[in-house]
């Protein structure tokens, strides 16, 4: 592989690490570790395998057909079908963007002591300015590089000398040791945070922004596999530090301030600041992706010209779409809705809508019109089939579990 190509792959992998982790991944992993120690590591592993397959397919679709997943779903399934997943995605995007903005605000609250509501509008302005003035490459790469600070969670887990035997056992699926409703609620929330529909839409749009073609299919596989794999390592780091720091003291996660303790354990007072910075950067990156994704899916649903690499005057409707989306979600924080509760609720809601989003993938990835000779093989189809089955089960149980164990 040539040096330039290696750099491109490395950058793609870094982007995936930055893009993988968001407020949902941190909150659900910390909750899992605090409540059930290492017992839910297997869910992160299963979720990561699912995400690797899904993201690889979204990238392959975009690289070969030059059409994003949102484009393809409307074109193949028609507006009558597409209107439902897109409406559901609007609702989830609205809530999740609110939660991500909340994550940045909480980080600032932890650093300054000023209540998170006061940060909502300055944070929203910073997000909007970055989207308005930045290009896709700038946003993608800066999020990726700054996101490396989250490796602190992996370092924290190692510094604490985890009981590796117990950790290994966590990767073997097991039933709930106690509080089954809460156990399965967190399991579904972790999956909802990992297999997030926005990743499919965003990744395929990003591949088009980056001008990927058939020659980039190997890179797509590497970025999806290695990048998402590394990203999940960070999430496992969060779970493991929570298991070693919070669980022994019986601390349950019902505020972000408690999750900060996960890094105080291994790094002392500095850990507190490291957590705040990690949370802030991660959520800021996720805000950018979430806001742009809303612009992408509206534009693609209605066939507008779009692109973060275009100047705002060249894609006025696209820029207005993400502007309105940032403004609407900011209101959730201005009125003081608890960011952690909003995050966990959004993750469960994501699980409910997943079948609508994932099922069309099985049809599209076998359509030679779009994929030519790069349609799915039996393994990919088998995995998507399993994922679809899993999403249906999750959709059915998410709300009852939210009520019983959330």
């Amino acid at each position: 592989m040539k040096a330039g190509k290696v750099l491109q792959v490395a950058l793609g992998v870094l982007t995936s690490i930055g893009g993988f982790l968001d407020v949902g991944a941190i909150a659900t992993a910390a909750d899992a570790g605090a409540s059930f120690r290492f017992e839910l590591l297997w869910v992160v592993l299963v979720g990561t395998i699912c995400v690797i397959f899904l993201v690889e397919m979204a990238g392959r679709l975009a690289a070969v057909s030059k059409h994003s997943y949102a484009d393809a779903v409307r074109e193949r399934f028609g507006f009558q079908f597409y209107v439902w997943p897109i409406l559901a995605e609007f609702v989830v995007d609205f809530l999740v963007l609110g939660a991500e903005i909340g994550g940045v605000c909480i980080a600032l609250q932890l650093l300054t002591g000023v209540a998170f509501q006061w940060w909502a509008i300055p944070v929203a302005l910073a997000i909007w300015l970055t989207a308005w003035l930045g290009t896709f490459d700038f946003i993608e790469n800066s999020v990726a590089l700054l996101g490396l600070v989250t490796l602190a969670f992996v370092a924290g887990a190692v510094v604490l000398h985890p009981p590796w035997g117990e950790v290994a056992k966590g990767f073997i699926p097991s039933g709930a040791p106690h509080e089954p409703a809460h156990y399965w609620f967190i399991a579904v929330s972790i999956m909802g945070a990992l297999i997030s529909p926005y990743l499919l839409y965003f990744y395929s749009s990003g591949a088009i922004e980056d001008g990927w073609g058939e020659k980039d299919l190997t890179m797509n596989r590497l970025v999806a596999g290695v990048g998402m794999g590394f990203g999940s390592l960070v999430q496992m780091g969060v779970l493991m530090t929570a298991a070693m720091v919070l669980a022994p003291h019986g601390i349950r996660v019902d505020q972000y301030g408690q999750i900060a303790l996960t890094l105080v354990g291994p790094f002392g007072e500095w850990g507190y600041y490291l957590f705040a910075v990690s949370l802030g950067i991660t959520c800021f990156g996720a805000c950018m992706e979430q806001a742009l994704e809303t612009g992408f899916i509206v534009s693609q649903a209605l066939g507008w010209n779009w692109g973060e690499s275009k100047r705002p005057v060249e894609a006025a409707r696209f820029t207005m779409a993400y502007t309105l989306s940032i403004a609407a979600s900011t209101l959730l924080m201005v009125v003081g809705i608890d960011p952690l509760k909003l995050t966990l609720f959004s993750m469960a809601l994501t699980a409910v809508m997943l079948p609508l989003v994932v099922t069309p993938l099985l049809v599209i990835m076998n359509d030679r019109h779009y994929l030519g000779e790069h349609t799915n093989g039996w393994l990919a189809n088998g995995v998507v089939g399993l994922i679809i089955g899993l999403t249906f089960v999750m959709a059915l149980v998410a709300i009852p579990l939210e009520y019983l164990g959330g």
């Binding site: 507006f79 066939g303 100047r311 006025a316």
Partner: protein, 133 residues
């Protein structure tokens, strides 16, 4: 007409209207993304032939396929406040070519209502904000 605009298909060419035309991305002569095909217009002629005459673009038409009533509401809102005045824009089928996944349209979208919202937002909102380019 741009030099690379595809020739019309030969007589007898089979066209899968719903699969290959409806909901497809429209791309104009300047390769500008110009909306999706929201509807297809057919005319029943005196001799009993059903002739496809045009494709349509406009949110009310797309929504009418889900709920005619909601589509009418959106059209009414558009007539009152919309830049396109709720108009569904029709493109004669003679100016339409299906090329693979997209639908090419033989016109300059910038000079039609297809990009009316884009123009309005650009001139009245986006251009007035610093850094819009």
């Amino acid at each position: 007409m741009a030099d690379d605009f595809p020739e019309p298909p030969e007589n007898g060419t089979r066209l899968r209207l719903v699969r290959d035309v409806l909901d497809s991305q429209m791309v104009d002569r300047k390769q500008c993304q110009s909306g999706k095909v929201d509807g297809i217009v057919a005319e029943l002629r005196d001799d009993g032939r059903l002739v496809i005459t045009a494709i349509e673009n406009g949110l009310p038409e797309a929504v009418r396929r889900v709920s005619p009533r909601v589509g009418d509401w959106i059209a009414a809102l558009g007539r009152r406040w919309g830049v396109r005045k709720g108009e569904v824009y029709r493109i004669p089928f003679a100016r339409v070519r299906n090329t693979g996944i997209d639908v090419r349209i033989d016109l300059d979208a910038a000079a039609t209502p297809l990009l009316a919202w884009e123009r309005w937002l650009r001139e009245h909102v986006v251009r007035r904000i610093p850094g819009a380019g």
